[in-house]
């Protein structure tokens, strides 16, 4: 739990930097979507933020390799393909993900983001139940 709180606080600092200095919401699905359809003057900061995520990933790979250990556990390639597609489509339709609604929106006490957060957690729980049922783990 300590690591969760510390990691969360670092995420909060990262989001706060973007808000106070650049005036931007740190919503990762939105940042990715913006890169997919480039608008002049609005693409570089997005690309650099994503590059930062990758650099952070490489740092983790060196200092905390266990961060990526569970990636190949218990799931086939088809599972990743289906899940990824749903995440991409759903986050654009719903205008946000765990970072945009979950962290940034909730921090601004946006009712819209609170409703979105409760909805994706509810359906995340449902998804895990279906996943376990299909594998006979329940």
């Amino acid at each position: 739990m300590t690591y969760a709180l510390i990691g969360g606080a670092i995420i909060g600092i990262a989001a706060s930097l973007m808000l106070v200095l650049n005036g931007r919401v740190t919503g990762i699905s939105g940042i990715v979507a913006g890169v997919l359809r480039p608008i002049k003057g609005d693409t570089l900061w997005r690309s650099l933020f994503l590059l930062g995520l990758l650099i952070g990933g490489f740092i983790l790979k060196i200092v905390r390799p266990e961060s990526f250990e569970s990636l190949s556990l218990n799931m086939g390639i088809a599972d990743y393909a289906i899940a990824g597609f749903l995440v991409g489509f759903g986050t654009l339709l719903g205008n946000g993900c765990t970072s945009g609604h979950g962290v940034c929106g909730n921090s601004r006490l946006s009712v819209r983001s609170m409703v979105a957060t409760m909805t994706f957690i509810l359906f995340g729980v449902i998804s895990v139940v279906i996943f376990k049922l299909m594998r006979g783990e329940v």
Binding site: D79, F85, G88, I121
Partner: protein, 136 residues
């Protein structure tokens, strides 16, 4: 300067995700596993991140503009509509299935594992599919 801030924020964000365990799919799925062995970590991450960000927002919301830009680019939409609910539901299903959301997905590309390339590739495909649907 704005560009440098975006880069630094990205690195910090990734480290925060890694330290808190959010790049580990079993930790995320563990949080969503209400009826199994519940792992509360994700809630701790949310509390830590929201606490800091919410305080900062209260301090800066009276300002006219951020330090390095002419205005704030904050979402003004506050409607709860069908698209929000349907989108969040579809996202939730995908998130729960793999235990990966967009941030940890991108960060995990650094692992070089094929699974995560399939996930992020499909995520981008899903985004393109959405944009195609929207056009028609």
């Amino acid at each position: 300067m704005k560009q440098l801030i975006a880069l630094i924020s990205g690195v910090l964000f990734a480290l925060g995700l890694g330290i808190s365990g959010m790049t580990q799919t079993h930790v995320v799925k563990g949080f969503l596993d209400f009826f199994g062995s519940w792992n509360i970590s994700l809630m701790g991450v949310m509390i830590g991140a929201i606490a800091i960000n919410a305080i900062v927002y209260q301090i800066i919301k009276k300002k006219d503009h951020p330090l390095f830009d002419k205005k704030f680019y904050l979402p003004a939409n506050n409607h709860i509509d069908k698209n929000l609910l349907l989108g969040a539901a579809i996202f939730g299903l995908g998130w729960g299935w793999a235990g990966i959301c967009p941030g940890p997905g991108i960060v995990s590309l650094a692992s070089g594992k094929m699974e995560i390339f399939v996930f992020v590739g499909s995520m981008v495909a899903g985004m393109y599919f959405f944009k195609m649907c929207k056009k028609n």
